[in-house]
């Protein structure tokens, strides 16, 4: 059993847990994730390791409540236990000094780009970050990202904070300003990663993305997480989650994320009904 030591609400529907998981904390590196299972009935869901404290033996995760599992997770509190945490999984992000890097986080993808941003900076890169959210209330990790990068730009879709627009608008501006960009790292909704990738391709800029396919085991055993990269099938959980954006079949990935749409809806309706009944 894995105990939740601290819980923080970062924004509406976005929460942070600090969890006791000494073995995972000991090995975790930026870019890696865990698979989490809440209880006997739970599914196995992948979540990025946001932070780890080796000597304390804890890891932190940030999750957005988008369906049954993440909503149920959100109802748990300090002191509660999770039945399983498996990890660290996936290949750690390759952190090298390349020069100037632009890291981009969209929505809860900001939680995933944060540890990468920090490491890239520690590796003496000049790091410019862009984070975007639909609206001001959903913006997370502003201070953390400010600290982790040399400069930070913020966009909101509705203009309620920072630049009114999309992260790609901000990226385009940086490109147009002319300062050389050696690497772009973009993590967020697939549609955003696709847009960044398309833009970067026009300027021949190398872009990395972290893919969030549906998973089961997270160890390369089931093939559920497969994506097409440069015409070849790759398993996100073991070959990734980081891939060079050029050549990723984003449309296929988006399509595969929709496989269980009906079941997800059913699951959430049933969950809400039961919660309603329980809370009277």
């Amino acid at each position: 059993m894995f105990k939740i030591l601290a819980k923080k609400i970062l924004a509406s529907g976005i929460k942070l847990f600090e969890i006791e998981a000494p073995l995972v904390a000991r090995k975790a590196l930026p870019g890696q994730f865990i698979v989490l299972k809440i209880d006997e009935y739970g599914e196995r869901i992948p979540l990025t390791i946001y932070e780890y404290t080796r000597d304390k033996g804890t890891i932190s995760i940030i999750f957005q409540e988008v369906g049954k599992s993440t909503m149920q997770l959100g109802t748990l509190n300090e002191g509660d236990c999770l039945s399983d945490i498996i990890g660290p999984l996936g290949c750690p992000t390759k952190i090298e000094k390349v020069g100037r890097v632009v890291t981009i986080g969209g929505g809860v993808g900001t939680a995933v780009i944060y540890p990468i941003t920090r490491s890239l900076k520690e590796a003496n890169n000049r790091v410019t970050s862009i984070i975007g959210a639909r609206t001001r209330e959903l913006l997370i990790l502003k201070e953390e990202m400010e600290k982790a990068s040399d400069e930070l730009f913020i966009t909101t879709d509705d203009g309620s904070y920072g630049r009114h627009g999309l992260v790609t608008d901000e990226l385009k501006r940086l490109i147009d300003e002319g300062e050389k960009i050696d690497l772009i790292f973009a993590i967020g909704p697939v549609i955003m990663m696709k847009a960044v990738s398309n833009l970067a391709k026009q300027y021949n800029l190398k872009t990395m993305v972290s893919l969030n396919s549906i998973m089961v085991d997270g160890t390369g055993m089931c093939g559920c997480c497969r994506v097409t990269v440069k015409g070849r099938t790759k398993f996100v959980c073991v070959d990734g989650p980081d891939f060079e954006a050029e050549g990723v079949d984003f449309d296929e990935l988006m399509n595969r994320q929709r496989i269980y749409l009906n079941e997800e809806r059913l699951s959430i309706e049933r969950y809400r009904e039961r919660e309603c009944r329980r809370n009277g």
Binding site: L23, V24, K27, K37, Y41, G42, E43, R44, K68, S69, S83, D84, I85, I86, G87, P88, L89, V216, D217, T219, G220, M221, C222, G223, C224, R226, V227, T228, T233, V238, E252, N255, R256, R258, I259, Y260, E263, E264, L266, S267, R270
Partner: protein, 463 residues
């Protein structure tokens, strides 16, 4: 002496029409009367030829003779001297190519139904013993061994090591113990409660289980040595699904058999939404392959509510690697066999869902390396089958997760771990056995490999 009964005592089974709609066990097991009748067929041969066919050396005539004496608990104890998992083996072992193949009776009549008798006494014990005391070893010998993987190879190695007074810890990547027994083989062939009870027996021997620990990620083999383990047994199975590399395999609705079966068995998707993990329930399902895995996937699809399920296999029924009994069960349940047929591509609709599978007819040519006649496509024979789910059950390979994190342990060109005849790998103190050494094989051969490795470990640590 009474006249010999020529045929095996039949095992009661659920009616195919009913069972194709539920996940309950198909074969119901012998009654006491059935077991006594079947045991009475055994000749108790002095040279016991059946023994030669048992990879874990169960004293078959001895346990059958205890059944004759109605000492069922004695019989199961006799088996457990060699085999910690009799209720599992009695259900899933291909006895027809093992012990029963060598049975004297089999030369003229049907062999003794050794597997069914094994199952009978194992089940009898589960129902009739309440006393679940730990079976503590006489005195721990001071050495500890790590076992990686809790499939049949790992469980057997752990049980045998515990019996030799080692302190044993199993590290398992998944959240449940049992390997393929819990994630692959379906409930209707091997109820998970049975696996749990046999695992319980291994625990009672003093074996400790650490679940959700992925060796190669959470800990490495060298970490285990630094934690003080004196030797390590690796039994991580062959968990890497193969695909055909044909167009359309990443369409929505295409599964590997591993994913399909894992969702249903390990994650209990057949009980969705009570359990959270979903599965797509197709109306028309194609399963590609001809082994036990394909039969399991096809019969699972039926039980999830499919109207029509096709097995697509490129050779003929004779060459099918699946157990005859499983093919027979599948046929009884109404699975349609499209043999001498090979998929060429999977066709999707506008939304990216599987719509059809395109196949080509095959004919058999000259024998190939495997000794089976090589299937050759017949030109111009393409045709399509309308389906909404496709399951690829064309085999598994070696999962590189552990081996790539252990570069000083040699693997062959297919990624399987290289060992000597007794299970020693090229890395000192590390032993291996089961599917990760041989490639996909059987439960009992994995168990045999676990046993062999324990002998080597014991020899190396006591010399």
């Amino acid at each position: 002496m009474a006249k010999i009964i020529k045929e095996k005592t039949p095992i009661p089974e659920q009616d195919p029409k009913i069972r194709r709609q539920n996940f309950n066990e198909v074969a119901l097991g012998y009654s006491e009367e059935d077991a006594l009748r079947e045991a009475s067929r055994c000749l108790g041969c002095k040279d016991s030829p059946c023994l030669a066919g048992c990879p874990v050396e169960i004293d078959i005539p001895a346990f059958i003779s205890l059944i004759k004496e109605r000492d069922y608990l004695g019989a199961v104890r006799k088996i457990k001297e060699k085999n910690a998992l009799p209720a599992i083996c009695g259900r899933v072992c291909p006895q027809e190519t093992q012990c029963e193949q060598y049975c004297t009776l089999g030369k003229r009549f049907e062999p003794v139904a050794i597997g069914r008798l094994e199952r009978f006494v194992a089940d009898y014990e589960m129902v009739n013993t309440k006393d679940l005391q730990p079976i503590t070893c006489s005195s721990p010998n001071g050495k500890s061994i790590a076992v990686v993987g809790s499939g049949p190879a790992g469980l057997t190695a752990a049980a045998d090591l515990a019996k030799l007074d080692y302190k044993v810890t199993i590290f398992e990547a998944l959240h449940k113990t049992g390997g393929v027994l819990v994630y692959g083989i379906p409930e209707f062939r091997l109820p998970k409660a049975i696996v749990e009870q046999e695992v319980e027996f291994v625990k009672r021997l003093g074996v400790e289980l650490k679940l959700s620990v992925v060796i190669g990620r959470t800990l490495t083999i060298d970490d285990l040595f630094s934690e003080g383990y004196d030797a390590i047994f690796v039994g991580v199975g062959a968990g890497l699904p193969h695909f055909m590399d044909i167009p359309g395999e990443n369409l929505n609705g295409v599964y590997s058999a591993n994913e399909y079966l894992t969702r249903v068995n390990l994650m209990k998707a057949y009980l969705f939404p009570e359990y959270d993990t979903p599965i797509k329930k197709g109306k028309r399902v194609a399963v590609v392959g001809g082994g036990n895995v394909a039969m399991d996937a096809a019969r699972t699809a039926l039980r999830l509510g499919a109207d029509q399920v096709f097995i697509i296999y490129r050779r003929s029924q004779v060459e099918m690697p699946a157990r005859r009994e499983e093919v027979h069960h599948a046929e009884e349940e109404g699975i349609e066999f499209k043999t001498l047929t090979n998929p060429t591509r999977i066709i999707g609709d506008k939304q990216g869902w599987v719509k059809e599978i395109e196949c080509i007819r095959m004919e058999l040519g000259e024998p190939d390396d495997s000794g089976r006649r090589r299937p050759i496509p017949i030109e111009g024979s393409l045709f399509k089958i309308e389906v909404d789910i496709v399951v690829m059950a064309i085999g598994n390979g070696a999962n590189p997760l552990l081996t790539s994190a252990t570069p000083d342990m040699a693997i062959n060109k297919w990624g399987y771990i290289i060992t000597d005849d007794e299970g020693r790998t090229t890395k000192k103190g590390v032993y291996a056995g089961g599917d990760i050494v041989t490639g996909s094989a059987t439960v009992i051969s994995a168990m045999g490999a676990g046993k062999r490795a324990v002998r080597a470990i014991h020899k190396d640590l006591t010399e």
